[in-house]
Amino acid sequence: MSPVESLLSRRHHYLLLAFAGLSVFAGMASISMARPSGFSHWAGLAIWAACAFVGTALLNRCLPACDPVLFPLAIFLSGWGLVAIQRLAPSFADRQALWLVISVGAMLFAALFPHLLRWLRVYRYVVLAGALLLLLATIVFGSNPSGFEFAPRLWLKIGAVYFQPSEFMKLVLVAFMASYLGEQSAAIRAERGDAGMRLPFSPRLAGPMLSMWLLSLVILVWQRDLGTAMLFFVVFLLLLYTTSGDWRILIGGLLLVIIAAAAAYHLFDVVKLRVDIWLNPWPESDGRAYQIVQSLMAFGAGGILGTGVGLGSPGYIPVVHSDFIFAALAEEWGLLGVIGVLSCFAVLTLRGLSIGLTHAGRDFHKLLAVGLTMMLVVQALMIMAGVLKLLPLTGVTLPFISYGGSSLLVCFVMIGLLLRLSAEAISTGHRGAL
């Protein structure tokens, strides 16, 4: 990149942040106009702006080679989420702003701390064991902040803070799989090169695939957490496919998903309910399908340009500030907002995968970049499609936007690792490329 071009891209970078700030400011201002409610949301805006400023300044100074788009993208989405939470559930907004500070701090740590990538690779079993212990602890001691008796118990309560180990599991599992598959990848590719392969799947591929499937099933059975189980397995399949380049992985994985889904449909009421109201929500539109039906209504009410921030009535959707925040955006920002969110995630995919491409030959780095990107994007797709009733609803958060401290924290740490990976790309000539 010539100096002139690098200056231009730096300028674009600031322009991007300026537009993000303007957009978040306008959103906050409309809320204060539409429903005057003191000054607490301006504090949220100030915290957000400070996070954006400090993050950009530190990244520019300490890691100038990193990807110039990822951080503005993440901070823009989280600002948008802050506006939406302020609008939908003002009592949660302060807490979310606080989590944003912690998350940006953690992201900067992940991006700037030089040994983190190596530690993730070398101590993978320690990290994995820790995460599994946490998960086990959730199964035994888990609770739910909403306090309903039958709600999934996915949270651990420490003092006054609830946090969700399955969110951390996302990060740990991607790192573990990247490390394991990175070590095995040479052997896997060599086996693929053998023309006369005797088994349809080599044990090197089938072993991890089956154990991952079992882990997902355990999460599903003990925690009733359909979304996380599905997410883990899909991301893992994509990673396995990235390693081996063998399309039969995808077919085999799909078969396993179908088997598990069919069994779960008959065994678990949660899954049966989700699938039933996905196929036809209307008979129960006042009952168990109320949430999804109201979400569809919100999409319809939004139209092309939306009702305007603070002017819609997304409050009809129960617990709208977490899983269903996308429906609220669709109502108040319309098709424009929906396309905006989709574009942001599309660009995130593009940048993340191209970071993976720049690490050709370094399998751990490549797989980690692909895995982190897929974790974020598959999760976003699952919940967006679920809210739109394109897929059965799976209760995962919309990355960066939904209310949820653990989710925000983990998403920002993933961005931090991606930034670190982008700065460590092999050939400096390809920096910022793609």
Binding site: L8, F19, L22, S23, P68, G310, S343, L350, G432
Partner: protein, 150 residues
């Protein structure tokens, strides 16, 4: 100014700044794509090969042999080299040709009898141009740059 008008203006501002954000995002992505395209174009330009030339008219009917160049091509008498130079005056690890920054560089690897470029001994890495002649021992190779080697 009434509240409705203010809210409308803010809505407009929010929508436009969202569009602005997306537009800048697309410009950045577009520019980096184009940059990669240019980079790939120069890399494609940079393929090349060596052709062995008949040595000093001793065997004029010798068949020309063609050696495609790798990103790092080593030359020398030892069998571990990319191009094995079968000549008594060549060293085991004689020279190498490296692709760097879209250019091919010829480098001597401390050989006993030196590496010549167009019959002049080189003492530092030198950029190769099309149809240059690389001399190692008694043998000479013509360097050819190809533009469209798929």
């Amino acid at each position: 100014m009434s509240v409705e008008a203010a809210v409308f203006i803010l809505r407009l501002l929010a929508g436009l700044s969202l569009l602005g954000f997306l537009a800048v995002l697309f410009v950045i992505v577009w520019r980096s794509m184009r940059q990669v395209d240019r980079q790939l174009a120069t890399t494609r330009m940079a393929y090349g090969y060596l052709t062995s030339l008949p040595s000093n008219a001793a065997q004029p009917n010798q068949v020309e042999k063609r050696f495609p160049l790798h990103a790092i091509t080593t030359l020398g008498r030892s069998a571990s080299n990319t191009i094995v130079v079968d000549n008594d005056f060549a060293s085991a690890q004689h020279a190498r040709i490296v692709l760097e920054g879209g250019q091919w560089w010829l480098e001597d690897r401390g050989s006993r009898n030196g590496t010549r470029l167009n019959d002049v001994a080189i003492d530092q890495p030198t950029i190769l141009a099309d149809s240059d002649v690389v001399g190692i021992g008694n043998l000479r190779y013509r360097f050819t740059l190809t533009s469209n080697m798929g």
